[in-house]
């Protein structure tokens, strides 16, 4: 399997996990969230900062990104908790638009790293270069 195919397959797996997060929120709890990619974007930025700038291990970076993402979702969804109707749908969609085009854009916020990020080995031991 060529490298680009592997990358594509890994992208599919990532997509699937995002899908499962939507299933938990929308399929089970019934809270329709149209802007899940906004939260993924938050995770991407936190991950880029954590791995690229702070050089912490992947497992820890996943935790940190997850916690930040959870906090962000709670803030976004807080207002929709008590109000009935399609409030959460609109809130998440607006958040996705704002975050993906403005808040998480390196042009506007220079602390977001651009450029290539090296991959430190997982747990300091398992090397994932291939």
């Amino acid at each position: 399997m060529g490298f680009s195919r592997l990358l594509f397959a890994a992208g599919v797996v990532v997509f699937a996990i995002v899908g499962i997060s939507i299933v938990v929120l929308t399929g089970w709890a019934g809270q329709v969230s149209l802007g899940q990619m906004g939260f993924v974007g938050v995770g991407v930025v936190v991950g880029a900062v954590a791995i690229g700038c702070w050089h912490i291990d992947l497992s820890l970076a996943l935790m940190v990104a997850g916690v930040v993402g959870a906090l962000v979702v709670v803030v976004v969804g807080l207002s929709a908790l008590r109000i009935r109707g399609l409030f959460l749908v609109v809130t998440t969609l607006v958040f996705a638009i704002v975050s993906l085009h403005y808040l998480l854009n390196p042009i506007f916020f220079s602390w977001i790293p651009t450029g290539c990020i090296e991959r430190p080995p997982l747990f300091g031991v398992i090397d994932l270069e291939d």
Binding site: G69, A96, C116
Partner: protein
């Protein structure tokens, strides 16, 4: 690299399956069905919704971190709002409410991207969504579960036991006379709670001596 993603996917599936069977999962599910009614049972609606938010947000952000580890750079515009709609559509195609459905939907959409030339890719997901809305409510996941349930129901009929979990029919077994009474009473729109109450009601109604002794009740 693919192995890491696959391990993460398996981990997420295991965690979410465990969640589904836990009290938290039950609370999330019944919250969707009947928000008011479930509060009677002592489920705090606000706290349950927050739990759902936290779990979902944690998963989505963690996977974003994994993605940046995979791609090794931060490319602005790699995610667009269109992708947000796209992934939601994909989950609807797969059937909202099950992990199997999510994975099937993603495979369907990405399979379309893989095999079809560029301009045709949108067609696969668009047609998929229309297909789900008009033909297959419940999506591909629902189709898979329907097939599985029908097969299980046929097994149940043959062996003559009562199984509450199957949403299609309740089969009451017969004694040596060979009488078979099949009650087609439950159907899929019945809610999570209604499922159980309706099933209990049917078994209680079958107060026939012969059937009573032969019927084996299993939940």
């Amino acid at each position: 690299m693919f192995r890491l993603c696959f391990v993460c996917l398996v981990f997420v599936i295991l965690v979410v399956t465990g969640l589904r069977r836990s009290g938290t999962g039950w609370a999330l599910l019944v919250l969707r069905e009947n928000e008011r009614g479930v509060q009677v049972f002592g489920v705090n609606a606000t706290r349950t919704k927050l739990t759902g938010f936290v779990l979902s947000g944690f998963g989505a952000a963690a996977v974003g971190c994994l993605y940046v580890y995979l791609i090794r750079s931060f490319v602005v515009g790699s995610f667009t709002v269109g992708e947000s709609f796209g992934v939601f559509m994909v989950i609807v195609i797969g059937g909202l409410g099950s992990q199997t459905g999510a994975i099937l939907g993603v495979l369907f959409a990405r399979g379309g991207t893989w095999f079809l030339p560029g301009a045709w890719q949108l067609l696969s997901s668009a047609i998929g969504v229309l297909f789900v809305f008009f033909v297959l409510s419940g999506g591909f996941g629902g189709l898979v579960f329907g097939v599985r349930d029908r097969w299980l129901a046929s097994v149940v009929c043959r062996w003559g036991v009562v199984v509450f979990g199957l949403g299609f029919d309740v089969a009451v077994g017969a004694d040596g006379d060979g009488d078979d009474a099949v009650f087609g009473c439950l159907s899929s729109p019945v809610s999570f709670f209604g499922d159980r109450i309706a099933a209990v009601g049917v078994v209680a109604a079958v107060e026939h001596e012969r059937l009573d002794s032969a019927a084996e009740v299993r939940t």
